[in-house]
Symmetry: D2
């Protein structure tokens, strides 16, 4: 009886104490320390996949329903990872999206601290003007719009074009570091020329002397598929399959093309699973070519051309191609490396596949029908 009374008194004292903490904008560490400091990363980001067929169909519907002027400067459908509570982010650190630009349309100029890349899943004809340099976009090309570079998109053709947008926006948001400016007073920048950066900075390990360019982000704004393809072929010949990886770099530093976002192309050839791998930091992958599947934390994701999928931080991933495949990927690795908290490892045993991901295709088909 006495014990019960003592327990009750203790509990009341504790309740009063926790109430006072809360009232004073304090939080006790001890009840939440496991959650705050887990043994290994416990990302809210889920492994997830979006089908290209669905993305394209919905992007086309956006093209019909939404004018560019309707709001926003862009007709962009962002991948909203279901683990992130409705945030329009592909992962906790990365933005991924499909952008649609209709025939004869243009998307007005602006600039912002978040860095962006465009990867062309299919089609061509559009150019992205970056600080006055009109970068023509062809299938398989990578276009950079580094932090605080003016950029707009122009489609002079009779057909629409859809491409992949990748940004470091969630990280810049988490760091409260976002600045944005619309280009004014015109909608579009004047074009000084087409593919100027490619001509000036696109040499093979040669650079203009006395260029005076800043080093953090690449002065080369466009990376062509034909060059990536050749380098991947050579790399595969040199190292053998089933997986080789190429990184797009800043020719001034040999480091990542952007200081906040790595751009890579993985070539995977049929012939077995790639070795299981995990790393700190997330990736968004875009299937440029081929078909196959990936296993992410035990869940199987089948993919083919245009599909986009997310690998969360510290998730184990392995791939297997049923056809020769090329996976474009962005990741936050440069950030983690700059902060000296990157780690990765290759594992020995393949994962057990415990589930298979089913994409939500039917719903779209129904609603269109």
């Amino acid at each position: 009886m006495a014990d019960q009374a003592a327990d009750r008194a203790t509990q009341e004292a504790l309740d009063g104490f926790y109430g006072d903490l809360k009232a004073n904008d304090l939080a006790p560490l001890w009840p939440i320390s496991d959650e705050l400091m887990p043994a290994a990363p416990t990302p809210a980001t889920l492994p997830y996949l979006w089908r290209w067929k669905m993305l394209r169909r919905l992007a086309e519907r956006a093209g019909e329903l939404i004018t560019i002027e309707r709001g926003g400067d862009r007709r962009v459908l962002s991948l909203a990872n279901p683990g992130l509570g409705g945030a329009p982010y592909a992962s906790s650190t990365l933005w991924g999206a499909a952008q649609y630009l209709g025939p004869r349309e243009s998307a007005p100029g602006h600039r912002h601290t978040p860095a962006a890349i465009r990867f062309v899943v299919e089609g061509d004809g559009v150019w992205t003007t970056v600080n006055g340099d009109a970068c023509d976009m062809h299938s398989g090309d990578l276009i950079l719009t580094p932090s605080m570079h003016w950029h707009d998109h122009s489609n002079p053709t009779d057909h629409a074009m859809i491409w992949f947008d990748g940004l470091d926006l969630p990280t810049m948001k988490a760091l409260d570091a976002i600045f944005f400016e619309p280009y004014q007073p015109d909608e579009l920048q004047p074009v000084a020329g087409h593919n100027l950066s490619e001509r000036l900075w696109g040499g093979r390990a040669t650079l203009p002397r006395d260029h005076g360019h800043d080093r953090p982000s690449s002065p080369l704004l466009v990376y062509r598929w034909i060059d990536a393809d050749r380098s991947l072929e050579a790399l595969l010949a040199e190292r053998g399959g089933p997986l080789v990886t190429l990184e797009y770099t800043n020719p001034l530093t040999g480091g990542p093309a952007l200081p906040t976002m790595a751009c890579e192309m993985h070539r995977i050839v049929p012939g077995g699973l790639t070795r299981p791998y995990r790393k700190v930091g997330s990736s968004v992958c875009v299937v440029y070519r081929g078909a196959g599947h990936s296993v992410i934390d035990g869940q199987r994701f089948d993919w083919s051309h245009g599909d986009m999928f997310v690998v969360p931080s510290w998730s184990t991933v392995e791939h297997e191609a049923s056809e020769p495949s090329d996976l474009f990927a962005i990741s936050d690795r440069p950030i983690l490396e700059a902060l000296h908290v990157f780690r990765d490892e290759w594992l020995d045993a393949p994962q057990d596949v415990t589930a298979t991901f089913e994409a939500k295709e039917p719903q779209t088909q129904d609603s269109v029908a």
Copy 2:
């Protein structure tokens, strides 16, 4: 009538479309682009202040009510910024807290990827053992526990001690980069000696040759108040007041002591407002000595010894000391600099003061009474 019907049909099509987007885990950019990309940072973090008197009183109650074993490895009261929806974070990127260690107590060893610092607001007698080096803690000292360094705290004295804990934890969480390990099997590391790093790395611009130490975080684990005080005095003599700032550095690089968190001491002397300043990234300030006030985004915060306050990203701040004052501060600047998105500016005109912050002292007093 026809128009209304058309409008209705359009709205239905739009509703259907937005529904399909949501059902397919996509989010349209255009309705949210202003919020996603504001003209300048719009941090959720609020300018805020916690009184030392209140912190100490509640820390002491924690000492009475909560044993170290009760859960968690630490008796820590974290500053929970009211703008952050209940998260135990001082700002969106920084952790700030008061830690209490009772007489003859010790807090068990562990290590984690988030880097931490301890700043001693008052008292002495405790040591923090970092990778076997027992760092004695005196008033005004700064102690580092860099990423993945084992650390525990020991209080061999008859009195309790409270100090300030600062961590980059929110950023590491946002990056899904947290790893944690308890020290095992003993609670505490064996102590190889006291203040070893101070003896070995605490020279004036001299270093052991062939030290073989990694460069990212400082091998010097303790910075003494007496040294900071002398350097601040010299700096003030050289540059004049009302404000001079000293940075604690990694002697191997001359850069910040930790790659993810800057540690600074501001000396402010009476004689007028400091020049208004704003920077990308937040700071947590701990008043070590003196009294005065700061104006943050038009709101006045009066402070004296031990008070802790937060300056959000891009908030304009100016200080005025009524007595000679020293403000210790941590910030996320090294992260923003590493990612090349840091910017700051000194403004010309002092801010209009539109509000005065009232701290929540009474509630605590009542509950104690």
Copy 3:
């Protein structure tokens, strides 16, 4: 009289003193301080030029008279700047030479700390094997043999080949830093393949991920003329003439291909003198294409294909092409930059031409006749 005696006594004391200094291996600074510390560099290196016609003829005679085995591993004629007292150096810091390899010959493998480059003035068919990678040499190509890389040359063809050798040897000698090892026991390294580095590292701003290569010297060992030519053309289109300069870089760093020697190609188009320029450090230029003249410290040097000439440190130089011309050049700039003593300047007024250089062609012709 007394004065004279005093003067004599003083002189005797001085003489005795100077004798004692010398006997004790000391030197007084005051009589030589102007020479030791001139207002600006006073290089012993002279501006100088060697004609390709002469170099080729003498290299061919070396081919007839000297077998590879006769001594030395190479049939190399080094440019011996007449200002350097007989030393076999093109300038005080750079080695320049013509190397001759006869039909079906090979030059045995070795490696050394001095870094070397080969620039192909004309011809093809030879390969240089560098750490097992056989680099095919074509006209206009640049081949690297970085510090401590095994290298040998093989000529499987029926014709001889002559190329330019450039080394940092004089600097390495001045620093007492030369190490040398012959390849053993075979004369030549096994060839793992041809142009492997080109395939693996010759991308346009792409690199293999996780390459694990050291950064100081370029992993790309061969730079093709066709690529340099295209980049020079683009650079000229972008910037206009009469002079544009391309630097061969290390794709891992964006810095010079070798940490001790810059490799550049200057494209000069007819249309007037280039702006007078001077820099700390010397250069050796090889005329790859075209014809024209340079003025170096007031002396005119006419040049055409294959001629080699030296620009000493801090000598003012300007060029004028009579035909579209390409000048390959090596320099010690990376050394001076690494030591933070590089400086250069563009001057306004063209130099007065006070002399014209006459090359020593006849002597060779006579001796051959």
Copy 4:
């Protein structure tokens, strides 16, 4: 007979060929390749030692015989290594000297690209003004005069002072990179204050924020003996004897105090030979305290306070102290590291002592007598 005739003809052809090469300023590599590229460094620099007693005596005679105005700006006796053919250099890359400044004298201001250090062997009272900052010189202190910093010396006392000068001058000369300017029109710079850099930059791993200082050379211009002594004591306690080494660093980088010259202090305690060691690059050592001997390439050099000796590149050296000893040393290591050609090694077996160095003391004594 026919063979002899053929041999003779061959020899004549060769002689003619070599003559033609010489006449055309070319040198054949093959006869000299072993000398040019030895298996390991073959420095002309000899291991050598100068006695302090002799240096001081001759410096005092210079004080009597040579006025500061007599020529040169300095009364400097440079160590002229007998291996260097009369050049006033301590080693092929380093200048070492004793500088004498009489009572009430001053040495006029100038600046130059070669970087210099002063190490105070004994005495005090003089200050060296560096860019307006009067650095007081005490026994055991190190004073920097980095590249292109104005410097002059002032002796306000009644006694003369002698100290050690160390410069990278031979290397700057080899690189044809020397610029020199006298300070004008006054002899001496105005003094802004005494020991300003010490106050501002002499913290323990703290730096002024926003200092805006260039990084190549240290902003801290004076390093006190008392600090070096304490750090050496701690280092010895931590690591044990018989040898510990401290490097004077640039607090902005953690690298060497000067980009071209390392400054180190070796503490050697009695108790046996230090482990044999060799490195690329030479050193000049100044015995600050104690007595003992060193073995350099098998030759024994006995030393005591004030003696100066040279260790050539790649010479094996070991030390043994008969009393607790401190050896100050300068070396060219930062240059070799910047060029990525530094290498060093610790050897296992002590050297055989095959000779003992005899310094040339008597000659001076005689001439003075």
